[in-house]
Assembly symmetry: C2
C-alpha cells in the first residue's frame, strides 16, 4: 500500500484526476506533519526570528503548507515543447497566485527527459485554487500526451523558514 502510493502513474485521462486522487496530497492525511518533523529534530526556530523571517518573505511555510516534489518523465521527442509549457505555468503561477510560494522546475542534466518541480503552496486552499487556474489547466491539457510518468511526492520541509538568496 505504501509502495503503491509511490508507483509511477501512467498518464491518460486519469492524469487530470491525479492531483485530487493521489494519496498524501492532503497534509492532514500524512503520518508526519512539518511541525512534528521539526520538533522531532529539535529544529524549531525562536518565535521572534520566525516572525521576522515571515515579515521579510511576506509568506511563511507552515505545517498547513503543501511542499511537494513532482517528478515527471517526458516523451524524449517532445522535451522542448514540454519545457516551454512547464516554465510558463511556473512563471504565471508565481506572478498571479499569492499562495504559490515556489514552483521551481528543473531538468536532469544527464537524463533530460526527467523533470522535477519543487512546488510550495501556502496551504490547501492555495493548492486547490492553483489547479483551477487557466494556466494550470492549459499546462495539464497540453502536456497530457507528452508526459509518460508522474509522481507527486509530498514532503515535510526540515527548515521551513529557509528562503532562497
Amino acid at each position: 500500500m505504501r509502495q503503491s502510493s509511490f508507483s509511477c502513474i501512467r498518464i491518460g485521462i486519469a492524469a487530470l484526476l491525479v492531483p485530487f486522487a493521489l494519496p498524501g496530497n492532503s497534509p492532514g492525511q500524512a503520518p508526519h506533519s512539518a511541525s512534528s518533523a521539526i520538533s522531532r529534530a529539535g529544529m524549531s526556530m525562536p518565535r521572534g526570528k520566525a516572525k521576522k523571517e515571515q515579515r521579510k518573505s511576506g509568506r511563511a511555510v507552515t505545517p498547513e503548507s503543501i511542499v511537494r516534489i513532482s517528478r515527471i518523465e517526458v516523451d524524449p521527442a517532445r522535451i522542448s515543447e514540454y519545457l516551454v509549457l512547464v516554465a510558463e505555468c511556473g512563471r504565471k503561477s508565481m506572478a498571479q497566485e499569492s499562495g504559490v510560494l515556489l514552483m521551481y522546475s528543473m531538468q536532469e542534466k544527464r537524463h533530460p527527459e526527467r523533470i522535477a518541480v519543487l512546488e510550495i503552496y501556502a496551504d490547501r486552499a492555495a493548492y486547490e485554487h492553483h489547479i483551477k487556474t487557466s494556466h494550470f489547466r492549459k499546462y495539464k491539457q497540453n502536456s497530457l500526451a507528452m508526459v509518460r510518468k508522474l509522481e507527486l511526492i509530498d514532503q515535510n520541509p526540515l527548515v521551513p523558514e529557509m528562503k532562497m538568496k
Copy 2:
C-alpha cells in the same frame, strides 16, 4: 554509463569522495547547460528584468551555478538524529556561505527515511568551498553510518531567476 551515474551509492569511506567523484558534478561536463535548456525552451528573461531580479536577490542563478537534488535514504532507526544533522548543516551553510543560495532539505511524508535536499551553489567555487567547511565535514562524518543510499542529481533550472516568496 548513463545509468551508472544514477545508480545508488553504498555509503562507506567512498562516500566522502562522492561529491568529487560522481559524474555530472561539474556543470561543464554536463550535456546540457542551464542556458541551453532555457534557450531551447525559449524562456530567457529580458536582460533588464534579469538584472533587476539579481539586484533584488543579491545573488543570481547563472549557467555557472550548480543546482542539485541530493536524494538520501537513511537508516530508519536513526532518522531523528539524521534530521538534526542535515538541518544544522543547511542552516549554517545558508548563514555562513554567501555562495550557498539554497539548501532546502525535505523528508517524504510517506517514506520518512527518504530525504531530498535542493542545493543551489552560485558557482563551482562556492560548491568547492562548501565541502571544505567544518559544518559540512561534521555532517558528512556524523551521518556516514546513518546513510544507506545517496544520489546526487544535477539539474538545469528552467526559470533560474525564480525566487521563493
